[in-house]
Symmetry: C2
Subunit: 372 residues, 2 copies
C-alpha cells in the first residue's frame, strides 16, 4: 500500500512540478488562461480520446486519429498524424542515408548504416523537427540536428545489445549489430556515430546563428552525457537485480535514460528554429513527459507483448531482473501514470499556434498508444 | 628490396608533400626563405641534435635538452622543455580533475576519472595549448579543448583495451579500466567521455567567437570520427593477421588512427588562439608528422622494450599479428623514417615567433626520443 501511496504522491508532485508558467511575459505566445486553453485546443471528440484509459487501443487506429481543433479565424483544421509521420520519416531516412554514405572501410560504414537506417520509429528526429516547426522554423534547418539525434540513438541501441550490456541478439526484428559485424566493429561504429552526430550538426546546419549552434551542441552533449542519458543507463545497469531500489531510483533512471534524450531532441529543434527561452522551457517539460511516457509504455509492452509483436526480445527486463514500473507499481497503476504523463505533456503546448502544435499533440497520443 | 625501395619512395613523396608553402601572402608570419629559416631558427648545437640518428638516447636527457635559438632583437633564449611539460601537465591535470568531479553514480564517475586522470604523457592536450600559444592565444582559452582531447583519448584507451578489441589487462602500469569496473561500465564511461568532451569545449571555452567554436567542434568531430581516427582504428582491427596488406595501408592506419588525433589537438588549439588559415594549415602538417612519428616510435618500442619499461604489455602488436613499421621495413628503416618525420614537423614551424615555437620544436624531439 505504501508503494501505491508513493505513486500517488509522485504523480501529484509530478503534476505540480510541471505546471506551466503562465506569466504574460512579453514576446511569447504563451498567453492563454487555463480556461481559454481547454476551450481553444480540444473539441469534445479529442478530449474524450485524451481521457481514455484504454492503453491497449489499436495503434493503427490511433495514428489514423485526426486531432481536431479550432482557432481564431479558422473554424476547423484537420490533422493527419499518420501522413505527417510518414512524410517526416521519409525525409529523415533520406537525410540519414546521405549523411552516412557507404565508403571504405566498407564493413565499418555498413555497420553504422545497418543500425542507423534500420526501420525505426524515428520519434526523436521527428520530435526535433516538430519542435523547430512549432516555433516557426523550417524542417531543413532542424534536419542535421534530427539526424544527429538518430545517430546517437543508434549508438545507444548498438551498445545496449552488446554481450557485456543487455546481451540481446534481436533489435527491430533483425540481428543485433554485433551479431552481424562483430563486437569490436560495433563498439567503434557506435562511438563513430556519436562523433558524426556532432560533426553533422556543426557543419550541415544552415542559417542558424553560431551562438545558437554552440548552445545547442552544448545541450546535446550534456543531455546525452554523464549528467544525462548515460547516467540513467549506468544506474539502470548497476541496479539490475537489487531489491533495495525504490521508485525514486526508477524515476531517476527513466528521466535520464530516455527523457533527457527526448529533451535534447526537442530543445535543439526549438533552438535552431529560433525559440524564445520560455518556449524552450515549455518544450523541456513537454519532452521530459514524452520521454518518461515512452519508457513507462516500454516497460508495459515488455511484459504484455511477444517478441514477434515487439520486433525485439520480449520479457527481457523481467529476465534481467530490471527495475520497471509494472514491477514496482503493477500494470494498472503504470497505465494510469502513462495517461497522466500524456496529459501533462499536452498542457505544455497550450498557447502555441494550434496548427503548429498539432504534430506534438498527436505525438503524445502516439507514444501513449504505441504497441511496439 | 622492393619493400625498401617503397619506403624510400614513400619518404621522398612524404617530404615533397609537406614542403612548406612559402608564398609571401599578406597577413601571415610565414615569410622566410629557406636560407633564412635555417639561419634564424637553429644554432649548431640544436641542429646537430636534430640530425642525430640515436633514437635510443636517454629520455631524461632529451627532455632536459635546451633548444637554443636567436631572434631579431634577442641574442639568446633558453627553453627548458622539461619544466614546460611539467607545468602544462600540472595545469591540464588540475583542469581535468575539475571537469569530471566525483559524483553519483559513483562507480561510473570513478571509471571515467580512473582512466582520465591516470598518469599519462598528455601529449595531445599540451599540443593543443602550445598551438594556441604559438599563434598568440592564452593557455586558459585552449584548456577546455585540451581537456576535451584528453577525454576522447581516454575513451580510445578504455575501448582499445576491451576483450573484444585488444584484450589488454594493463595500461599505464595499472589494470585496464574494464578489469576494475567491468566491461559494461567501461563502454558507457568511454562514450560519456566523448559527450563530455564536446560539452566541455562548447560550454567552458571563454572569449572565442562562436563561429570559431562551431568550426573547431566540427573539426574535432571529423578528425576523431568515421573519416578520421575511428577509420584508422577500424582498419587496424580488420587488417590484423592479413598477409596481403602493404605500406599504403599501414600509412593509412597510422595517419588516421594517431595523426588525425594530433591534428585535431593542434588545429583546435590554433583556432581558439586566433590563428589564420595559413597558420592552421602549417599546424595540420606539423601535427600529422608528429602523430605519425608517435606511432612509428610506438611500433619500435613495442618490439624493443619490456612491459615493465613501457608500463603496458610489450610485444602485443607481434602477438596480435598487427601491421607495424618494424615488421614491414625493419627497425633501422623505421628509425630513419622517424627521424625524417621529426625534421619535417620542425620545418612547418619556420617563420613563427621562435620563442613561441620552442615548445613544439622540443615536442618533436620528445616524441622522437621517448622511451615509453
Amino acid at each position: 500500500m505504501s508503494m501505491l501511496k508513493g505513486v500517488v504522491h509522485n504523480l501529484a508532485n509530478q503534476s505540480k512540478r510541471a505546471t506551466p508558467n503562465r506569466s504574460r511575459s512579453a514576446g511569447t505566445k504563451l498567453l492563454l488562461s487555463s480556461e481559454e486553453r481547454a476551450e481553444a485546443l480540444f473539441l469534445p471528440k479529442v478530449r474524450a480520446f485524451c481521457n481514455s484509459t484504454d492503453i491497449a487501443k489499436n495503434e493503427a487506429e490511433v495514428i489514423k486519429h485526426e486531432n481536431t481543433f479550432r482557432e481564431a479565424g479558422k473554424t476547423k483544421t484537420v490533422f493527419d498524424f499518420k501522413s505527417y509521420m510518414h512524410q517526416k520519416i521519409k525525409s529523415v531516412n533520406r537525410a540519414l542515408d546521405a549523411a552516412v554514405p557507404l565508403r571504405e572501410p566498407l564493413k565499418f560504414h555498413e555497420a553504422m548504416r545497418y543500425s542507423l537506417l534500420s526501420e525505426g520509429k524515428r520519434v526523436c528526429p521527428v520530435l526535433c523537427i516538430a519542435a523547430c516547426e512549432l516555433v516557426g522554423g523550417q524542417e531543413s534547418t532542424a534536419m542535421p540536428a534530427a539526424c544527429g539525434m538518430e545517430m546517437v540513438h543508434a549508438m545507444c541501441m548498438m551498445h545496449d545489445d552488446l554481450p557485456c550490456m543487455d546481451n540481446d541478439t534481436l533489435r527491430r526484428g533483425k540481428l543485433s549489430n554485433h551479431k552481424v559485424f562483430g563486437e569490436n566493429v560495433t563498439v567503434l561504429a557506435g562511438y563513430s556515430l556519436v562523433a558524426l552526430a556532432f560533426e553533422h550538426m556543426a557543419t550541415a546546419t544552415q542559417g542558424v546563428h553560431p551562438k545558437t549552434m554552440v548552445r545547442a551542441i552544448g545541450e546535446l552533449a550534456r543531455l546525452i552525457g554523464p549528467e544525462g542519458a548515460a547516467a540513467g543507463q549506468v544506474l539502470d545497469l548497476l541496479s539490475g537485480g537489487k531489491s533495495d531500489t525504490g521508485l525514486e531510483e526508477l524515476e531517476y533512471i527513466h528521466r535520464h535514460k530516455t527523457a533527457d534524450f527526448a529533451e535534447a531532441a526537442a530543445i535543439i529543434g526549438a533552438m535552431v528554429g529560433g525559440a524564445t527561452n520560455e518556449e524552450i522551457n515549455r518544450l523541456r517539460k513537454f519532452s521530459q513527459c514524452i520521454g518518461l511516457l515512452f519508457q513507462v509504455v516500454d516497460d508495459i509492452l515488455d511484459v504484455t507483448k511477444s517478441s514477434e509483436q515487439l520486433g525485439k526480445t520480449a520479457g527481457k527486463d523481467l529476465l534481467a531482473n530490471k527495475l520497471t514500473y509494472p514491477k514496482m507499481i503493477g500494470i494498472e497503476k503504470s497505465k494510469e501514470y502513462a495517461q497522466n504523463l500524456s496529459k501533462e505533456a499536452k498542457e505544455q503546448l497550450v498557447g502555441f499556434d494550434p496548427e503548429k502544435a498539432a504534430p506534438l499533440l498527436a505525438m503524445a497520443d502516439f507514444v501513449l498508444h504505441r504497441q511496439k
